[in-house]
Amino acid sequence: MTAIHLENLVKRFGAFTALKTMDLEIRDGEFMALLGPSGCGKSTTMNMIAGMEQPSEGRITFDGRDMNGVAMGRRGVGFVFQNYAIFTHMNVYDNLAYGLKVRGTPASEIDRRVKAMADFLQLTPMLDKPSAKLSVNILQRLAIGRSAIVEPAIFLLDEPLSNVDAAFRAVMRTELKHLQRQFRQTMVYVTHDQLEAMTMADRIAVMDHGVLQQVGTPLEVYNDPVNLFVADFIGSPGMNLLKGVLADSDRGLVADLGALGITAPIDPALSATARKHGIREVVYGFRPERVVLAGAGQGIAMPVTFIERIGARTVVHFGDGEQRVKAVFDNDVAVQTGETVHVAVEPGFARLFDAATGVAIREV
């Protein structure tokens, strides 16, 4: 139960800058996900919060206390490593008990708490087993239990589910959220899997190439990505992004989508911003989930190139040279490959980005 504040955090490894001026406020008791592709600096950020790495610039505060120079053992941080770092020479019980033992907790209390934790994580039958031979799923729970048992104020998890199988991952997503609700710690969760971030986190910090792109609730980053990277990275499939040029018309400002031969009207509020900044080249974006079939003569007419069924959802790929569009329907949809279909974007769900900078054009 501690607020974490990263202020102008920079991390360099020699000449390589792994993290560029990161500013992030993680609230007390919040479940924050650090989301980004591999190598974007998520682990580096976590390691600095834990004190395993020292920032090159900037500082980290816990509830306003500067953590610079505070040893990692004294930060009150629980850390679940990507590879779990289980003590392989100990059995499950001793792994769970470790944090309490080194604190000099009385043996009777250690026993009580280890058994309670084992019960909570369904590790009771394994308590006497040597930990070197456990399956990944069990190691993963053990790693969480070993950190959680000392009730750290801050809980950091570095891709804890990346090694476990899909079915177990779904179970653990629920369990982790449950665990956090129960202990009310501030939780920072690193993942490259947006599904994990979207389902568990209170807020998501999206990162790319060592730069923090956007911080917001799952719905905020999903609905209103601040730039093309977030628009494309969040959602599966990502946002449809069509190149266009802004032009005046009798309907006000419109985006001329070129080859598609149509013009999309632009929201007056966004038009004002675009006009103010003199933006002409834009990217017109909309979520595949917000595509609807339109009547003939309406919307964008495009041939269906491919139909993909993912569980109950149907992903329809439309293509026309450079400009490609994907649409996601909750159920089966009456289109066929090769057929030309008219599609439209639900009103209010189109987004506009400056093609030159990739930044979203917002109301001012």
């Binding site: 990692m72 053992g73 003590f87 470790y98 944090g99 080194v102 070993r146 950190s147 000392v150 090694n163």
Partner: protein, 318 residues
């Protein structure tokens, strides 16, 4: 992920072995036949000298007797070598001295080596150079080391010079010719020469301690000494036992450097088992007796080592 891969591999080999049982039965017999000559040869090489030693040790045979060793049974002496040995105080003194040297040198080498290895886990300026320097003593030929320490410990030698400077008055102890100090000088030489080996083995062990587990322990609040006791030591158990076993066996046989420094003297002040055996063999030429000594020591050492190995296996299972 690696764990998943191993599980897969295991199941694959499992399949193969079930279909291949028939081939395997024949294969095992063929394998035995093919390796039998080599196995017999190894057995012969390893066991023959021992059997010969056992045989000689039961006789009064000596190379000066003018009969071949195979005829030694003519000199059968009803276990006299062993009964003599039981009451040979020079032997028991030498054994005690050897044990004393071992009990001081091996722990000293272990602690110094461990301390140095821990220092070398951190980065410091000139680490590579120090590392090379550290290993030099181990590479010095023992005979050369013997002469070196012989010079160092002369009454007018550098060791006394340094002590004189430190205490501010002349100091001229004849280290190697005083019964009280000769053994100390010998042990210092042994520690100097063999600490690097300990260092090298223990450093390999320390490097092998998984860093993430150390970090996990730190994050759980373990202090340096707690981490050392609960993570480093258990992980290094096997390698420590190996290092100690090597040094215990080697140190028990301490001879070359020592012999050049003191010749086992003054008197018998530095006479260890090896020196005693050497003297009995070379000077007294009672080979049957020597064979008995050697056999007793071999058995004693074997028991020591197998104890160490069983400890090691226990450690591995835990």
């Amino acid at each position: 992920m690696s764990m998943l891969a191993t599980e897969e591999k295991i199941s694959v080999t499992g399949d193969l072995s079930t279909t291949g049982t028939r081939i395997e039965d024949g294969g095992r017999r063929l394998g035995l036949m093919l390796t039998l000559p080599a196995q017999l040869l190894v057995l012969f090489i390893a066991v023959f000298p021992l059997l010969m030693q056992l045989y000689i040790s039961l006789t009064d045979w000596s190379p000066l007797d003018g009969i071949g060793w195979w005829q030694a049974y003519e000199l059968w002496n009803n276990f006299a070598n062993y009964t003599d040995l039981a009451v040979d105080s020079r032997f028991w003194d030498a054994l005690g001295r050897t044990a004393l040297v071992m009990l001081i040198c091996v722990p000293a080498e272990f602690l110094l080596g461990l301390g140095l290895a821990i220092l070398f886990m951190d980065n410091f300026a000139g680490k590579r150079v120090f590392y090379s320097i550290m290993l030099i003593p181990m590479m010095v030929v023992p005979a050369v080391a013997g002469y070196m320490f012989f010079m160092l410990f002369q009454s007018g030698g550098p060791v006394n010079d340094i002590i004189s400077t430190l205490i501010g008055r002349p100091f001229a102890l004849a280290w190697l010719s005083s019964p009280g100090t000769a053994l100390i000088a010998v042990m210092i030489a042994d520690i100097w020469q063999w600490t690097p080996l300990m260092f090298l083995i223990l450093l390999a062990g320390l490097v092998g301690v998984p860093e993430d587990q150390m970090r996990a322990a730190t994050l759980l609040g373990a202090s340096w000494s707690q981490r050392f006791r609960t993570i480093v030591m258990p992980k290094m158990k096997t390698i420590i036992i190996i290092a100690l076993s090597i040094r215990v066996i080697e140190n028990f046989k301490i001879f070359d450097t020592l012999y050049i420094m003191t010749g086992g003297g003054p008197g018998v002040a530095t006479e260890t088992i090896s020196v005693y055996i050497y003297k009995v063999t070379q000077q007294d030429l009672i080979w049957g007796y020597v064979a008995a000594i050697a056999l007793v020591i071999l058995i004693a050492l074997s028991i020591l080592v197998s104890l160490a190995i069983s400890r090691m296996n226990a450690a591995k299972e835990a």
